[in-house]
């Protein structure tokens, strides 16, 4: 392979913690920074990445057609009109799960690696075949979790599996962070989660209703002009991923109201 492509697995164990949303936003942000980026939907059972990117009507071929030699790779790639550095390779249909092997995924990611600087692989939930297939396509990983018991527990299982592969580095993104709840200690803190999982922290993403609104529109937040808490976080994660030395967003500085300030006071260590 001529290029030093970074192929990154976006995984979590538990479903619904924000893998696909992170993949879409990170994909746009990386592409916007000038890196050619492919996002590969490895969730063959329940594909969603096309919807989040607003590309669902432009899919003609899938990864399956490429493997079957029904079409060439560049025919299956769906370029994003507003962000030409970004392309989506859709997954095949659910039947594909039956015959898909890790080698097939590896083949696809090798083909993508010849053309792109970044390949982000949106992983299905669980630790079964779909996850193992996606794993075979990647060199590094981002584990997404929420500051909640079940999400952290499942992340720990995934990390256990990743540790037995030669994936490196494995970094952590904590999504759906609520500064108020953390301040009142009704939510596991960033330090708690990171300490327990003991992975390097790539970033956090704040809980933000704009995420839902942007999903409705099929435009990831990083593609839009407005300011929003989650957008700021996704951009921060993207910068840190490309090696820019910016500090991780600290939830303690995010709440601005008087109530937040009071909560912060209550967090002061007395002894």
């Amino acid at each position: 392979m001529s290029k030093n492509t970074r192929t990154i697995l976006i995984c979590s164990g538990k479903g619904g913690v924000g893998k696909t949303t992170l993949t879409a936003n990170l994909g746009i942000a990386l592409a916007n920074s000038g890196a050619t980026t492919a996002v590969l939907d490895a969730d063959f059972g329940l594909r969603n990445l096309d919807l989040l990117l607003g590309l669902e009507n432009r899919i003609i071929y899938t990864a399956q057609d490429v493997l079957d030699k029904n079409c060439r790779l560049d025919q299956a790639l769906v370029r994003h009109k507003k962000e030409p550095n970004l392309a989506l390779l859709p997954a095949g249909d659910p039947r594909m799960l039956d015959w898909m092997k890790p080698e097939d995924m590896k083949k696809i990611s090798d083909m993508l690696s010849e053309k792109f600087d970044f390949v982000l692989v949106d992983c299905p939930a669980g630790v079964e075949d779909g996850f193992k297939n996606a794993l075979a396509a990647c060199k590094e990983a981002i584990v997404v979790t929420n500051p909640e018991l079940s999400a952290v527990r499942d992340a720990d299982r995934v990390i256990g599996i990743l540790n037995t592969s030669d994936i490196e580095p494995i970094q952590l993104v904590i999504n759906r962070v609520r500064p108020n709840m953390m301040a009142s200690q009704e939510m596991l803190s960033i330090d708690d989660v990171q300490g327990i999982l003991s992975l390097p922290l790539l970033g956090i993403v704040l809980e933000d209703e704009q995420v839902i609104i942007s999903t409705n529109r099929g435009e990831p937040l990083t593609l839009t002009d407005g300011r929003s808490p989650a957008k700021k976080c996704y951009l921060n994660v993207s910068q840190r991923l490309t090696g820019t030395d910016v500090p991780i967003i600290d939830p303690k500085n995010e709440g601005k109201s008087l109530k937040d300030k009071f909560m912060r006071l209550m967090q002061t260590k007395v002894f």
């Binding site: 018991l149 527990r153 256990g160 009142s184 009704e186 967090q267």
Partner: protein, 108 residues
């Protein structure tokens, strides 16, 4: 302890749920991590050998009776080593048929 914890304590209120979450998580993970066959028989064999090497420096062990295993009870997993000692290396006979028990917690 934070200001909030202090006030809660003075008022006799329950502590914040994040503490409970942290404690429950640590327990359940200690269990999961061992369960997860992360400690394969291979690893256990290797560990057994290294433990014996260390202990054998100081005491003479009855190798035929040695047992090293993982035992799980109430969400806690312990590494249990049963190493019958014949004599210390200096020659003094310490135990005849008594077994020395060695319990260690496992941390991955």
């Amino acid at each position: 302890m934070t200001l909030r914890d202090l006030i809660n304590k003075l008022l006799g209120r329950e502590t914040a749920s994040a503490n409970t979450a942290r404690e429950r998580l640590q327990l359940v993970l200690a269990h999961d991590r061992v369960d997860m066959s992360s400690l394969t028989t291979d690893l256990l064999d290797k560990m057994r050998k290294e433990i014996l090497d260390v202990v054998a420096k100081y005491v003479e062990i009855d190798f035929e009776e040695v047992a090293v295993s993982l035992e799980t009870e109430d969400r806690m997993t312990a590494l249990v080593a049963n190493l019958p000692i014949k004599r210390t290396v200096s020659g003094e006979i310490k135990f005849k048929n008594n077994n020395e028990k060695n319990d260690k917690d496992i941390k991955k």
